[in-house]
């Protein structure tokens, strides 16, 4: 009989199968099989952490300083040397300066979308936004493409993210923690782990009751996709709810005090610690979203509040990943939606500036300890070839062994590449 197409262009019958590969529905056998397939493909990394600096962080005062530019451009802060010769960053980031061999700065990243929403979509999806199409965030692409353990969400957003699964469909959407963890405090996420004083025995008892109560459709269960789907999810939900591993992965309080304090007491730092734990447990993509970078006025006051947390948190993230042997298998990316005006405005701030921005990348597949690309002498635009957000997204996916030219189909059967317009950033990859 005729079947019809769903949002992601797959036929109804195929949907559950595809859903199963999305990670959330994967059996352990499948997982192992895919992990094996992954070995054959040899991706450099198997997980990613994306730190989003919402509002558009200034490039001029952080990772792309212009000490020789006129004062109204270079601003008040000074660069400092790092442990990599010739690579300088802002003096307010001493922790990062000590581990510069563990990351790479991209300068002269450039696009033309100066509105927050559009720039955000561009950088989170790798695709210049279209009005008629909602692109999936990179995390959704990764959850669709890479397998993950059955009791863990493949794509976690701390505390949430601006971009969902777009045309890929809800099942590839982020699992939002809805809150950021705090230093020294226990942390858990909605629905994961036993809630409200329930014990494993309580859960099993209820499951039995449910099986008994829910028998009406037994005769047609296997013929209905919806009913089959509900049954499948039912089993997986049980895995996740009762998994001690899943609950433990979210609970940063299980880290030693020494490790936890290394990340600082800020939101970014503790979120980064959670990201490490999740990646360690097998999540494929973790986003950390932090705001406050839209500094239209008094930028130096604002930077005093924001930079220390980023500096300490990001440095601790890289160090800890390395200590645990995860830096080689985790690709890390830091980005906002655009840079800020090279010239400081009358209110002592900087405004939106997509023509020149910075990004930071590290980890598996990345050649670290270098600067790729450049902006011109006043930080106004790229000097030489610009790096496009699509190029960076392509490179990130490449590190994860994902073919960024692969085509999906949208709801109207329109074929669309994962990254519509992207190429690998020259020199970035190891």
């Amino acid at each position: 009989m005729a079947q019809h197409r769903y949002c992601d262009g797959v036929k109804r019958r195929d949907l559950l199968k595809v859903g199963a590969l999305g990670g959330l529905g994967l059996s352990l056998v499948d997982y192992l099989r895919f992990a094996k397939a992954g070995e054959i493909r040899k991706p450099k990394a198997t997980s990613a952490i994306y730190i989003r600096l919402g509002g558009g962080p200034t490039h001029m005062d952080t990772f792309d300083m212009k000490p020789d530019a006129p004062e109204e451009y270079r601003g008040k802060l000074k660069p400092m040397k790092t442990n990599v010769a010739g690579m300088e960053i802002c003096e307010k980031m001493p922790h990062l300066a000590k581990v510069a061999d563990k990351f790479t700065i991209l300068r002269g990243v450039s696009h033309t979308l100066a509105a927050h929403e559009l720039g955000t979509k561009f950088t989170l999806t790798g695709n210049r936004p279209l009005p008629s199409l909602e692109y999936p965030s990179l995390g959704s692409v990764v959850s669709k493409e890479l397998a993950s353990p059955p009791d863990l969400p493949p794509f976690v957003a701390i505390p949430n993210t601006n971009q969902g699964a777009g045309y890929l469909g809800l099942q590839y959407g982020p699992f939002s923690t809805n809150a950021a963890p705090k230093l020294g405090q226990s942390f858990s996420v909605r629905g994961i782990g036993l809630q409200g004083g329930m014990t494993l025995a309580d859960v099993s008892r209820r499951e039995k009751l449910l099986a008994q109560v829910d028998s009406t459709f037994r005769s047609i269960e296997k013929k209905s996709d919806v009913l089959t789907g509900l049954d499948e999810f039912s089993e997986q939900a049980y895995n996740m709810i009762t998994s001690k591993r899943a609950r433990d992965a979210f609970d940063i309080a299980q880290e030693s005090k020494q490790v936890a304090e290394r990340f600082g007491d800020g939101e970014v730092g503790q979120s980064a610690l959670l990201a490490v734990r999740l990646v360690e447990a097998g999540s494929r993509f973790v986003t950390i979203t932090t705001g406050g970078w839209d500094m239209h006025q008094d930028i130096y006051g604002a930077l005093d509040k924001r930079l220390p947390g980023l500096d300490q948190g990001l440095a601790a993230l890289l160090t800890t990943l390395e200590e645990r042997g995860l830096l080689d298998s985790t690709v890390v990316m830091v980005s906002g939606e655009f840079g800020r005006t090279p010239k400081v405005n009358v209110r002592g701030g900087r405004d939106h500036w997509p023509r020149a921005m910075f990004m930071v990348m590290a980890g598996g597949g990345i050649k670290m300890g270098q600067v790729i690309g450049a902006s011109d002498d006043k930080g106004q635009g790229p000097a030489g070839d610009a790096i496009a957000p699509g190029d960076v997204a392509s490179s990130l996916l490449h590190c994860l062994g994902i073919d960024f030219h692969k085509e999906y189909q949208t709801s109207i059967g329109r074929p669309i590449m994962i990254v519509r317009d992207g190429k690998l950033v020259p020199g970035l990859l190891a």
């Binding site: 019809h4 009005p131 509900l230 109207i412």
Partner: protein
Amino acid sequence: MKHVSTIAVAVLLCWGGSSHAAELTPSKTPGLTGAPGVIKRADQRFANAATKEVPSFQRHVLPLMGRLGCNGRACHGSFQGQGGFRLSLFGYDFKMDYDALTKSEEPRVDLKKPRESLMLTKPTSNDDEHGGGKRMDVDSWQYRVLLRWVEAGAPPTKEGDAEFVRLEVSPLEVVFKKQGEKARLRVLSHWSDGSVEDVTPLCRFTTNDEAVAKVDLSGEITVVGTGDTHIVAFYDNGVVPVSALLPVTDKAGPKYPSTPTPTKVDELVVNKLRKLGVVPSETCTDHEFLRRASLDITGALPTATEVTSFLSDSSSDKRTRKIDELLNRPAYAAWWATKLSDILGNNEGKLRNQGGVGSQSEQWYQWTVRRIAENAHYDDLVAGIVLAKGRTSSDQSFEDYCRQTIAFGLGNEDVTERATMPHYWARQNMRTSNEKALSFSYAFLGVRLQCAECHKHPFDQWSQTDFQQFTAFFNRVTYGPTDRSQAEKMLAAAGIDKKLPNNERQKLLKKAIDAGKIVPQDEVYITASKSGARRGNDKGKNTGAGRVITPKVLGGDEVVDAQYDDPRQPLMDWLRQKDNPYFAKALVNRVWAHYFNVGIVEPADDMNLANAPSNKELLEWLASSFIEHDFDLKWLHRTIVGSRTYQLSWQTNSTNELDLRNFSHAVPRRMPAEVVYDAVVTATAGESELAKRADEPATVCAIGMSRGYTQRNNGNNYALTVFGKPKRETPCDCERSNEPSLLQTVYLRNDKEMFSFISRSNGWLQDALKRLPGSEGSAKADGGKENPKQGKKGAKSEPVVQATPADVIREAYLRTFSRFPTDQELANAEKYLVESSSPADGLNDLVWALLNSKEFLVNH
């Protein structure tokens, strides 16, 4: 050159609507191909090496290249081209393609040495010399078509050449008898000079379902499986679907059992089922009907009392009366206004902020709720949105407009009293004419024009020119400040510096409004017609050819822009025309899809020629009857829900168990996000809360939630997001997801919010426990920490009414499954309660299990 904007131009395409092309054609055309006057097939004419015929670029050369695959998306149809050669995608831009072949830096034709033309050498060479591989043989008929054209000097299409009129395909329906049977299609193209050519060897053919029928290049169909689908023929901008059907059982036709068809809908549905040999299921039970109709019409579960009284009613017309009763409930208006808001993109985060005057989204929603409750004619309701301007009367001054807008926002004036609702045109994602056209055709026509924005629509008749002409209706529709100087005066009078950053300005505006001042407001208005004079951006858009684009309705007439103060007027007039091919169909199809899980055209918002309806007669009857009933929405709902077809059981028989498109049984479907959320809240609510929810759904329930839509997310409701509430950001019905997902299951099983719904202090469970003798406290899983007093409170107060465990179990079933438990279920539950550590724990577990059951989550 004359500007056509002052001249009315008659119909360009004589074949208008979605399926009319096929209709105009007699379905029996024996002998037509052999008939005098029909030009023979190109493969026959060019089989002869001696032929002197010069083929036409438009009629032969380009279609052939399309068929060879040259202009496919992966080949030269790619926007970057391929190997330095680019053709228009799916080949409809004759000028561009002609230029690409003949005038580029590296022309594909060589007039001096025709056989060395790249367009001949490339497709006849192998992979290493041609990325696309070998497409044809040297000296084949295809080769000869291209060669003769080059030899003749590669003549272009000239002005005055005959234009393509329509495509005629025969047969239009093939009913097969057994697997493996074949049938051959014949395709004729009709041209404006009266000539007719057999273009079968120049067409593209596709199948809509390979599991039923396949089609090869020559137009030969092979049936491979039971069921029905369409084979589609493409040539020029003609697209014609052919129905192909292989009965599912031997009960087809005369052997079909006698089947009741009490309504016209049933008759039309069974007509199709008879061809397929599919027998519909029995009708559903009363409790299933009540639950299904309540969820579908009002987005709400029936209450326990309602179920009881409906089941005990023995009158024969109780279903009919129930339908009318449901249609008169506030929840019907709340729910269907939400459905309409989805389609129109009523999203708070996408509406442009008016200085501190409340929620435009809410205003728009309540305006719609009122009209649906009053059963406004659908065309009038749409006209109220399509023709809306900011000012409520033509002589309203700017200042009075601002005053009134503020009054609407503050609730001092009732915005639902407005005759029209302008906020649709204030959407941020509908600023450009292109965005307006895409949104409009999606919402009111069920047509997706996105493809034609950049190239010929691959599955429909629309070209880029059609798109641009349709877009021209919206060029003068504007939203923003009208009178800047007065606006500045008003700002100055309110003491607000217009140069302040937006967020600070908004704060001051709000303060000024609170202080009773009038601040300027943006408005929807129509700019003056340019009537030939052009200036700036997209107004009076000028094409490369120096033509001013004339507004033209899709597949219909051009319109004289300057004759109308408001170009939306002729557009609205067109929507209301009885012969409008889309307007009524789009609505009845969407409503049908709501009740049956799939549309007659599916996806319901993709009415293109290649996506043929599964039951054309049914769609046409519904649409024309809807128009005859003056677009009466309640008539439509009554007609659908009152049919036997809607009231069929989900239990299938051996003939219909695989049917998903022909409505032979009910399909279990997950409740929509808002409905499932409300169902959980209602099923667990105490009596007083139930009454409020029934009376004020548009303000209390999730089905009446309009404000929640923000730019970032689906609002702040986690559960609604997880259950797939649409974001209302892109024009696609698929934004709403009714698919199950893991997160949904995790939420229902294990979320604290779920636990607290079940055990809330004013909820049903606590009430039931009070009535149960021997109950000592609230259940464990409500997260005892949050409400430590609940249990004690329950134990302390005196039992109100004594109830037995069986009474309480029955109530729980009625509230969730909308039926009484069977004896076995009752016994099982009683046993479970007895064995539980406390009645509270036992009952809590039971409610939890009922809410997590498929029988609860699925509308069946």
